[in-house]
């Protein structure tokens, strides 16, 4: 199946990816090739097959005690942020 620039626009919006008008037909073409390639999965006989989410299926997920295990490193972590004030991350105004 072939994807259009309009489809790419919609997918990019869902993924919150800014792409330019020039890029849209380029992605439409390469994504169409990829989709066409993965379409061959349709020929596999998979009736009654359980989907495999994970190679360790069957092993139960470990639980840990609900105890604090990490220290407060927020200053160290926030050194990587573009804009911080009073220990909070700054973003453009959301509510007018």
């Amino acid at each position: 199946m072939s994807l259009t620039s309009r489809d790419v626009e919609k997918i990019a919006h869902l993924a919150r990816l800014g792409i330019t008008d020039q890029e849209k037909p380029v992605y439409a073409s390469s994504l169409s090739k990829i989709v066409e390639f993965v379409d061959q999965l349709a020929r596999a006989e998979t009736d009654g097959v359980t989907p495999m989410a994970h190679p360790l299926e069957g092993l139960t997920q470990r639980l840990r005690a609900d105890e604090v295990s990490e220290g407060d490193d927020h200053e160290k972590f926030q050194r990587n942020a573009a804009a911080v004030q009073a220990g909070l991350y700054l973003v453009p105004k959301v509510i007018e």
């Binding site: 994807l3 790419v8 997918i11 990019a12 869902l14 993924a15 919150r16 990816l17 800014g18 792409i19 992605y27 390469s30 994504l31 090739k33 990829i34 989709v35 390639f37 993965v38 379409d39 061959q40 999965l41 349709a42 596999a44 998979t46 097959v49 359980t50 989907p51 495999m52 989410a53 994970h54 190679p55 360790l56 092993l59 997920q61 470990r62 840990r64 490193d73 160290k76 972590f77 926030q78 050194r79 990587n80 942020a81 573009a82 804009a83 991350y89 973003v91 453009p92 105004k93 959301v94």
Partner: protein, 485 residues
Amino acid sequence: MTWHARSIAELANALERRELSSVELTRHFLERIGALNGALNALITVTAERALAEAAVADRRRAAGERGPLLGIPLIHKDIFCTDGVRTSCGSRMLDNFVAPYDATVVARLKAAGAVMLGKANMDEFAMGSSNETSFYGPVHNPWDLDKVPGGSSGGSAAAVAARLAPFSTGTDTGGSIRQPAALSGITGIKPTYGRVSRYGMIAFASSLDQAGVFARSAADAAIALGAIAGFDPRDSTSVDVPVPDYAATLDGPLAGLRIGLVKEFSEALEPRNGALIAAALDVFRSLGAKTTTVSLPSLPLSVPTYYVVAPAECSSNLSRFDGVRFGYRCTDPKDLRDLYERSRGEGFGAEVKRRIMTGTYVLSAGYFDAYYLKAQKVRQLIAGEFGAAFQQVDLLIGPTTPTPAFGIGAKIDDPVTMYLNDIYTIGANLAGLPAISAPCGFVEGLPMGVQLIGPPFSEGRLLNAVHRYQLATDWHDRAAPGYA
């Protein structure tokens, strides 16, 4: 023999006999990096000062009576592993300014073992690529031919070991990203069982497939390095609590009676010169006492399309964390929150990463989920089941690592599907979570090729043993790229 041509065991002995210090050894490798990395672009960051400080600590530990196979031995980490206080870029503009605030478990374990970090290796952006051409920091050049790719995504890690800039390096393998560059660069690379090595602090691409491993020149060196990073980690919820055997101790075991199955689907349509190398490797294994047979995994040819649904789906979810808010690239003057997200991600990610995020978003979107994602998970189950059945008949599976030797820089980058087919022989092991190893097995057009062995879960010791015996009987792994001996 020059120090950079020695094995890890030889270097550890030399350190132990005080023939040289770790500081001297570290300086030797740093000088090599200084002289040779410019042409290779294998390292993104060189941590010279820190390396010399770590080497001095290793020397003091040894002087105090401590022993250890990696105490004072230099290495290079793939730039996907978080390193406390050192930039961790993942090959992306998105993380060009990111200084990791903690160590990945792989990094912490090697540090505890006394290994000395020389720097961080170049890689495909977010490990998405098979040629190391998608890196924000430019392509890595193959030491065997600087116009060729070293493979990817762990291309810098592979080129660095092939050029003898370090005795070993770390890598990650989601669809072949250790084995494929190991093969194209003429070295040994092992991807362990899913869950064998902690993924904590390893930047996620496709979480049900990602696994850390190592590059070295030989299986004997890889056994030492893997032993240091393998093991249970409570900080990774998919880490498996299975004891780690002493991989170095079982290297020498005889191969008499070992059942090796040639994968029928791998050997069909194989380029004749590649096929001849695999046949020759099988002859060596037979001469060592192994019994060989042919095994069929009929769903295996669907592994590449399965992977290119599952991996992008997981990537689109994992990479949603890069939003320009808490860390990573932020666009200038965002006009509102949506603009902040879209432009930070649009400008911070490269073309291949965006393509994979969009592929993943598409296959997970309403109306397509069942036809693509759910279908791929079912085919994945079929493939895993066929591997399981094969291991009822044989101990290990064998085949090529790659369809061709290293290709030219720029030759495949514009055609994603052609690029994806590079991983046709390696992806199956990731889908099934199995350990697999690639080792040098000869040359095509003067460029190195790899033979791949795949084993059942937690058979890393057996894989390393088989390759070690193969390497005692052959010398492909000892060949150095011209100019890098």
